[in-house]
Point group: C2
Chain length 342, copies 2
């Protein structure tokens, strides 16, 4: 079988341009005993991948130049010489940016297409949803009546954060770019308030949207949004930090005022808790509860989700750039091949 | 009775100069029924007082211009018309920068001069000791074998942090200014390593002193010390933040590189916990354990302390400036009048 692969051609400086990626046709061997051949149906695009393209220190090993780019995928089993899987099964895997992959079964999870659309295993019922669930409940700990703010709020993490906050009795305020996304926050995801960070009066609008201040800020963007949010944090506010997408393409430390001393003074004067995390840290403690709770919430409509699907692996680089710049509207998936369940 | 008072004459810009303070002789009325007249024996000087001199937002209300400066004190009861106290009793009070004070008994705590020197109620057995104890155990949570780093390490908070860390099985690394203080860290306080932040090879010395990285950084100084420490924090490191004395006299946000984005990237990539706190937050949970543990540790010599006593209230402004600049060597006390227990 020939697999179309997207490999890291060279490490990007700033936004990943076309020279970052190389498309290669690779002849895969036939599956050996114990192996499976997978057809990639959906490839998940997530902000963390930008870090894996760089050699700089991060929470995970970088992808080597010349290697296939990593990523979560939903696949159909084409051929199985593995006792646990049959051809036609759908699985969650980490097969990366390619159209076919061999697997020895490690790290696979079988999906039931009758219980939820298979694409949700990469979004609301997968890593992004768990990031929202674990970060909010373990670190954010919203109490009834408290105000929870999240940015990139129509994205897969942000939309789940706001909706879970409301389920827990909190007041959810979402920040997003542009009027269409802000309208969706209210109409589609049920946030209590929405603020457009592209508006010239963003700071004033944000302050007006949180009359009682902010108790939890779920940090996934950084940049100018975080700067305004931090001014409004209440005493004992909690800040789970799962991403800083606004800075991922930054090439140099920005010049100007050093804002770190002022930030630390605020940490001190407001007794803030700022906690970085990767969702996998909490799998053991919260993984089972997440599957139970989130499946139920999605099934009964109390958590909704939105997908932004681009068709064709060749679209992946541009879709990835668009996601880092906030041009997506919902969870970004690359449909690499037909989804026979839709 | 005439009380010599030190009042806030005007808010300081940068280091508090002599024009910050005015010395006033105030005639106190005789104690009314239910009141006590207190003679201040020791006045505690603490970094947080710099914040109270400013109108800028902090964790406590600022001192008003014209008011007596606030501060913890150990006093002898001169005259009592309060049923719970007799003349000759020693009390911990919050009488501020003055030589005599009236009290209605609220907030007083009687001291037993036979169990510990009365001055320790302002240091190792008082607020600074509790800051170390609660911040380290509640937020830092050092595990056996972990490396705990603290700066201003010969000061009342820092020296307690290091010694408690060792009692809990941790490895204590202290940062202090100059060879004399570094020697005291090893010889007097039993730290495992000491690093001089005034040395030109501070960064390299610090790295060499923490071969396994840093698991807990007890932040009480900020500035260039914090910058080097943060580079060495381990995955899941904890940073209790109780003070930032290096920045307290800063008049403007510093220009140059904005270090906040890099700091947040580190919070994310290392899953750090950064938590500001004021010790009073933990009084209910840890207050009784502190009194029990710390009294025992001081009595059996496993926690030692050092006092830097200046004599005469007129020395308080210069001693306060010296403390902010790190010229003190141990807990700074102003001996306002004779200590009859010594």
């Amino acid at each position: 079988m020939i697999s179309t692969q997207v490999r890291l051609a060279r490490r990007p400086h700033g936004e990943p341009d076309d020279a970052t990626f190389s498309f290669v046709e690779e002849q895969l061997p036939d599956p050996a005993d114990g192996q499976l051949l997978l057809r990639v149906v959906y490839l998940s695009l997530d902000p963390y991948m930008r870090g894996r393209m760089s050699a700089a220190e991060s929470y995970a090993e970088p992808v080597e130049v010349g290697d296939v780019l990593v990523g979560g995928t939903v696949c159909e089993v084409v051929e199985s010489r593995h006792p646990s899987y049959d051809a036609g099964d759908f699985v969650l895997s980490y097969s990366g940016w390619q159209s076919y992959a061999l697997s020895d079964g490690r790290g696979l999870r079988k999906l039931d297409p009758t219980s939820a659309p298979i694409s949700t295993a990469l979004g609301v019922l997968g890593m992004p949803g768990f990031t929202a669930y674990a970060g909010l409940l373990e670190i954010g700990r919203p109490q009834p009546g408290e105000t929870v703010v999240v940015a990139a709020a129509t994205g897969p993490v942000g939309s789940a954060v706001g909706q879970i906050a409301r389920i827990k009795g909190g007041r959810a305020v979402g920040i997003a770019g542009g009027p269409a996304k802000c309208a969706a926050l209210i109409d589609e995801f049920g946030f209590d308030a929405a603020v457009d960070h592209r508006s010239p009066d963003f700071a004033a609008s944000l302050a007006a949207a949180v009359p009682d201040g902010i108790d939890v800020y779920f940090e996934n963007v950084g940049g100018h949004v975080a700067r305004e949010v931090f001014r409004l944090l209440n005493l004992y506010a909690r800040v789970p930090v799962c991403g800083l997408v606004a800075d991922y393409n930054a090439t140099d430390a920005p010049q100007g005022v050093d804002r770190l001393p002022g930030f630390m003074r605020r940490v001190l004067s407001k007794s803030l808790t700022v906690r970085g995390f990767i969702q996998s840290e909490f799998t053991k403690v919260h993984g089972r509860d997440f599957v139970r709770d989130m499946s139920a919430w999605v099934a009964d409509g109390s958590v909704r989700y939105r997908e932004d699907i681009v068709v064709g692996l060749e679209q992946a680089p541009e879709a990835f750039r668009g996601m880092l710049a906030g041009r997506n509207f919902g969870k970004v998936l690359v449909q690499v091949s037909d989804d026979p369940t839709r």
